[in-house]
Amino acid sequence: MAVITYREALNQALAEEMERDPDVFLMGEEVGVYNGAYKVSKGLLDRFGEMRVVDTPITELGFTGLGVGAAMTGLRPVIEFMTYNFSLLALDQVVHSAAKLLSMSGGQFKIPITFRGPTGAALQLAAQHSQALEAMYAHFPGMKIVVPGTPADAKGLLKAAIRDDDPVAVFEGEMLYNLKGEVPEDDDFVIPLGVAEVKREGRDVSIITHGKMVHVALQAAAQLEKDGVSAEVLDLRSLRPLDVDAILATVAKTNRVVLVEEGWAFGGITATVAALIQEEAFDHLDAPILRVTQADVPMPYAKGLEKAAKPSVELVVEKVNRVLYR
């Protein structure tokens, strides 16, 4: 298997799916001539032409709705948000149109659209450019949400998203684009939506997370191992559909749980998973479920404040120690 970056893996996924299906096209700000604000679409304009790699004006609501309308009548658009922060301008089209048209039309109109772009905090981008918004998207029935944490997952999940007949939002970690990893070269390498992966086996505690936080969890697990704690890291990968079986299995195995997410705690993914675990696996728990999330504040700019606001390896280690009553 080739070792490539997360960015290259996404690029491969796009190129392969566009090659495979002429109905797939990519649209967004700077995806064409500029080769993508984060270079995910590098080279695609030259390869597929301007009807299939489309630079738009800076009008998120308009081009997102365009994608939904195109999907409603048979195309398979991939809409790039330069970042998910800007997607808030387009949320009406995502929520009221993409997520609901199949249901509202009594099953007559499928919406096979993919939304994608970077999410989460990078380095000192302050409040409006440092948000992990996947919990908000996951709130809406009709949507599917994937959050790849590795290059292989990025490729496999994006390909699955493009082939899926429902609207799928792919949340790419803004700080993961340069991450390298082994990625299968097979054109049909697809990771099914709704399948979590144990990224590290463990016995004593389950750290359940997704996206960029997988790496925070893995670092915490490595540190804990030095103290004789065996932590299992479950990467949800997909938030809707949610791999409930994998969650319950890891809880049954370790009996202790720490949940980690990059976004806010209130109404968060971890809130949902915690509720699920107490409803369905309460008898397996030997300690209360604890969570690590972003501080409940808009992200500050100053370096030290930003660090304090983000979920950290230290916080994860601390919470693990607490659920182990150490």
Binding site: F25, G65, S103, M104, S105, G106
Partner: protein, 353 residues
């Protein structure tokens, strides 16, 4: 607004023999009458609680959808907002399936999931039925994009109320439609009130057609009380779209004789009874029927027969809705996703129900 009398409709076929012209005129009048009687029947059913939710009637505006959709060809698409019963009828959808949808029945065009504001027919290229002011405009832009992407000879026709043109969605869509010369015909149904707010109290610019000039887009004002003027103006725009010359913005000046929705009286807070009565002198159906009578196209007797026929259709639609079953509760989780649930993972709450 002075009532401009259009010439008899230009023939649907360029060869234009007199009988085809005669049939088109009669057909348009019949469509308008059906819309009127259907909605009057709807209002009755609503009043006795057979229809729930919001219900926005089109009474008074019939000439707009009738003339404009008549200008389309097989394969063209239509999309609108929430005042949509007339457009659904005009697209050829079965009146029974429309009434059943209003009743929330399993036989409704959206299987009872959509209601008044969300009617759809993939078969008739009728793309709904959208409930957020201006939200449908970018969707229509996308359909026009699809037509261009696939190199099809089709036209996308989208309707909106005048209040929608102050939404960002309208401006973003006009810009891209004109920039990419998409085959889009935008029809603003200016019925003068965005719910209870008069247009002149909501917009800094009164003349909606002028807004197109900000996007280098052709525009036209049509008499929305005259199906022939609507036909003429829309046909021109559709021809332009079909030949690759891009979008057109049409402002159709019309008036609704009823409240914004069934919860809103005909007159009261934002307009007087006298205002409405004065506008009703321009009733598009009565004026058009008189015009056709004068032209010798449709006699009073034929008109009465036509009226009886569309009342009967409306009554039958209501009876069909009445007799239809409610959706099974088991349908609740159907059609939220294109695929069935996988192992209880897709729907978060299914294990607990």
């Amino acid at each position: 607004m002075a009532k401009k009398k259009a010439d008899p409709m230009p023939a649907a076929q360029p060869s234009g023999d007199a009988s085809a012209q005669r049939d088109d005129n009669r057909e348009m009048l019949r469509s308008m009458l059906l819309q009127r009687r259907f909605e009057e029947r709807t209002a009755e059913a609503y009043a006795i609680g057979k229809i729930g939710g919001f219900c926005h009637l089109y009474i008074g505006q019939e000439a707009v959808a009738t003339g404009a959709i008549h200008a389309l060809q097989q394969g063209d698409y239509v999309m609108t907002a929430y005042r949509e019963h007339a457009h659904a009828l005009q697209c050829g959808m079965d009146p029974g399936s429309i009434m059943a949808e209003l009743y929330g029945k399993a036989t409704g065009c959206s299987k009872g999931k959509g209601g008044s504001m969300h009617m759809f027919s993939a078969e008739r290229n009728y793309l709904g039925g959208h409930g957020i002011v201006g939200g449908q405009i970018p969707l229509a832009l996308g359909v026009a994009w699809k037509i261009k992407y696939r190199g099809e000879q089709r036209v996308m026709q989208v309707y909106m109320g005048e209040a929608a043109v102050n939404q960002g969605a309208f401006h973003e869509s006009l810009n891209m439609a004109a920039l990419w010369k998409l085959p889009l015909v935008l029809i603003v149904e200016n019925n003068r009130f965005g719910m209870g707010t008069a247009w002149e109290r909501a917009s800094s610019l009164y003349d909606i057609a002028q807004k197109a000039s900000a996007y280098a887009m052709p525009s036209a004002v049509a008499d929305g009380m005259d199906p022939l003027d609507m036909y003429r103006v829309t046909k021109e725009a559709a021809d332009r779209a079909r030949s690759g010359e891009g979008p057109t913005l049409i402002e159709a000046r019309t008036y609704r004789f009823v409240g914004h929705s069934m919860s809103d009286p005909v007159s009261g807070v934002y307009r007087t009874k006298e205002d409405v009565e004065r506008e009703k002198l321009k009733d598009p159906i009565r004026i058009y029927a008189d015009f056709l009578a004068k032209q010798g196209i449709l006699s009073q007797e034929e008109l009465e027969k036509m009226d009886a026929e569309v009342r009967e259709i409306s009554e039958k639609a209501a009876q069909f809705a009445e007799d239809s079953p409610d959706p099974e509760v088991g349908e609740l989780y159907k059609d939220v996703y294109a695929q069935e649930d996988v192992n209880g993972r897709l729907y978060f709450d299914m294990r607990n129900r």
